[in-house]
């Protein structure tokens, strides 16, 4: 089943058009990756999916329902949850308070204890630091907290915007492992947006390549890994 579907989505900021007809879908229980370099339109695609930006043309479907004009906070209640670029934590709230607010919606609050247990088991360090202010965490811990906060919202589809950005390779591998674990053990559906092609292809089921606001390549992981384009442009082979 398709959890998310974008149909020829066009949008941009002010007068500047960024996306020129994006078609993309995310299958339930799979990890889909959206690859592309800086400025290709990856973050803009996520902003359209979360409702931080509305499409000029085309539509966004969630489980078959058109959500193109639904405001962000209502999409969260439906299960469209994003870990934004640059973490966007509340630095003056504690780790626990950040997680607590992750479970703000009624649907999420009902599963609060379960979610918290899951987050603490994935990231034991967050439990140790639960009373610390989020702003005092290290970069890796902040990324863990950002993912943890999103999990508290009980996502039907989890969108991750460049979780590897600014992290040491070892931490990137750890984060990728957690994402794989969430898919395998929690049956979570994931849309991962990354510049780190090598790392993200390792855990992906299906992928898209975006260039200058257009999807230029798509396919299963094996197809992408075998494609000359990916080899040349991103893997340096």
């Amino acid at each position: 089943m398709k959890v998310l579907e974008l149909n020829s989505v066009e949008t941009g900021y002010g007068e500047t058009q960024v996306l020129w007809g994006i078609d993309l879908s995310v299958e339930e229980g799979k990890i889909t990756v959206l690859l592309g370099s800086n400025g290709a339109g990856k973050t803009t695609t996520l902003r359209v999916i979360t409702g931080l930006l509305f499409p000029w043309k085309g539509s966004v479907l969630f489980k078959g329902e058109d959500i193109s004009r639904v405001p962000t906070h209502k999409r969260v209640a439906m299960g469209v949850v994003m870990v934004p670029e640059g973490r966007r934590l509340w630095p003056e709230l504690t780790v626990y308070e950040n997680l607590e607010l992750g479970a703000y919606t009624k649907r999420a609050r009902e599963k609060f204890d379960e979610s918290l247990e899951l987050v603490y088991s994935l990231f034991p360090r967050l439990k140790e630091r639960k009373n610390q202010l989020a702003g005092t965490l290290s970069g890796g811990e902040q990324q863990m907290l950002a993912i943890g906060r999103a999990l508290m919202s009980v996502p039907s589809v989890l969108l991750l915007d460049e979780p590897s950005l600014g992290l040491a390779p070892k931490l990137v591998a750890e984060i990728m492992n957690v994402i794989r674990k969430l898919k395998e053990e929690e049956k979570l559906t994931v849309l991962l947006v990354e510049q780190n092609v090598h790392m993200s292809l390792q855990i992906a089921d299906y992928g898209y390549v975006i260039e200058q606001g257009r999807i230029t390549l798509e396919g299963s992981r094996d197809e992408l890994e075998a494609s000359d384009k990916i080899k040349k442009a991103y893997l340096g082979m």
């Binding site: 934590l89 509340w90 003056e92 308070e97 999420a108």
Partner: protein, 304 residues
């Protein structure tokens, strides 16, 4: 000049400071959450005082006046949000300087309208509770006389600040207000409706401001439109000193400003009584300049 004069001036200053601090709480909330600089702060404080006086005249019970002042302020906050602020700050992700200027002008217009309304209805004749006090005669401590009405105003101010603080620290709604204050977009990404939170802040902030008008009235004994011009600038200094959006900062800032004001006033009175208020006010503003130079985010504010 002897030391007891300094001590007495300081204590009087602190008594006033707690009330000043509470009168600045609404200002710090609106400023912190949606960058609305409420230039009508002074007028909203005395709106509460006038309402308390009117209700007192009707039922001869000042507490009924206090409650009506609070309720009317909550409602006024609702009106101000939807009539003036929503179109400017409601759905914006990032409040730019341009929007700040627009809200500043909107609140400035409101302050002028309210001020003229007071002159039109009440003139500059002082209005108060007459000889009413809470029924305990004033307390004498050596050379000092503490009015029981002032004590009552202090207790109410501090209790109110603590209640607001606990609300912001402990409840989910309070935490979501702090979340919107720190990053409104991140708040919408966990399902918080920023419009709802902004509206709630306006309701709460303006409600607390008119409620503080009751304490101000107890302290000042009577209200004139001029009282607004006395409290508004001090509220701004307190918010900058305490840090935008910090309720505890407002209390501490209020106590510091009250102390500095009282002490300066006491010292100057000894030499030239006529000059005491202007000099004390000047000292307060020198402090404002020093904070802006040394610690612009305030005592409890966030570094940007």
């Amino acid at each position: 000049m002897d030391i007891s004069l300094l001590i007495i001036s300081s204590i009087y200053g602190l008594f006033w400071g707690a009330i000043l601090g509470f009168a600045a709480v609404g200002l710090t909330l609106l400023w912190g959450v949606m960058k609305v600089v409420n230039l009508a702060q002074g007028e909203m404080i005395i709106l509460g005082s006038y309402v308390a006086v009117i209700i007192f005249a009707m039922v001869y019970n000042p507490f009924a006046g206090a409650i009506v002042a609070l309720l009317l302020g909550l409602f006024a906050g609702f009106l101000v949000y939807w009539a003036l602020l929503h179109k400017l700050v409601g759905k914006v992700e990032k409040i730019t300087l341009k929007i700040e200027m627009s809200t500043l002008l909107a609140m400035f217009s409101l302050s002028i309208a309210l001020m003229n309304f007071y002159y039109f209805i009440f003139g500059d004749e002082p209005r108060g509770f007459g000889l009413w006090n809470i029924g305990i005669s004033n307390i004498k401590l050596g050379a000092m006389t503490v009015r029981t009405n002032v004590l009552l105003a202090d207790v109410l101010s501090i209790v109110s600040i603590v209640v607001v603080y606990l609300f912001l620290e402990r409840t989910i709604l309070g935490k979501s207000i702090r979340a919107v204050m720190q990053d409104a977009q991140a708040a919408s990404l966990v399902g918080i409706d920023p419009v709802k939170i902004k509206m709630l802040t306006a309701v709460l902030g303006i409600g607390l401001t008119t409620f503080s008008g009751f304490m101000v009235l107890l302290y000042e004994s009577a209200v004139t439109p001029d009282i607004a011009h006395k409290y508004a600038p001090l509220s701004f200094v307190i918010v900058v000193l305490g840090g935008l959006g910090s309720v505890i900062g407002a209390l501490i800032g209020g106590l510091i400003i009250g102390l500095v004001y009282g002490l300066s006033k006491g010292i100057v009175t000894f030499y030239n009584a006529k000059m005491s208020d202007p000099v004390a006010l000047a000292v307060v503003f020198v402090i404002l300049i020093v904070i802006l130079l040394v610690k612009p985010e305030g005592l409890f504010g966030r570094k940007r």
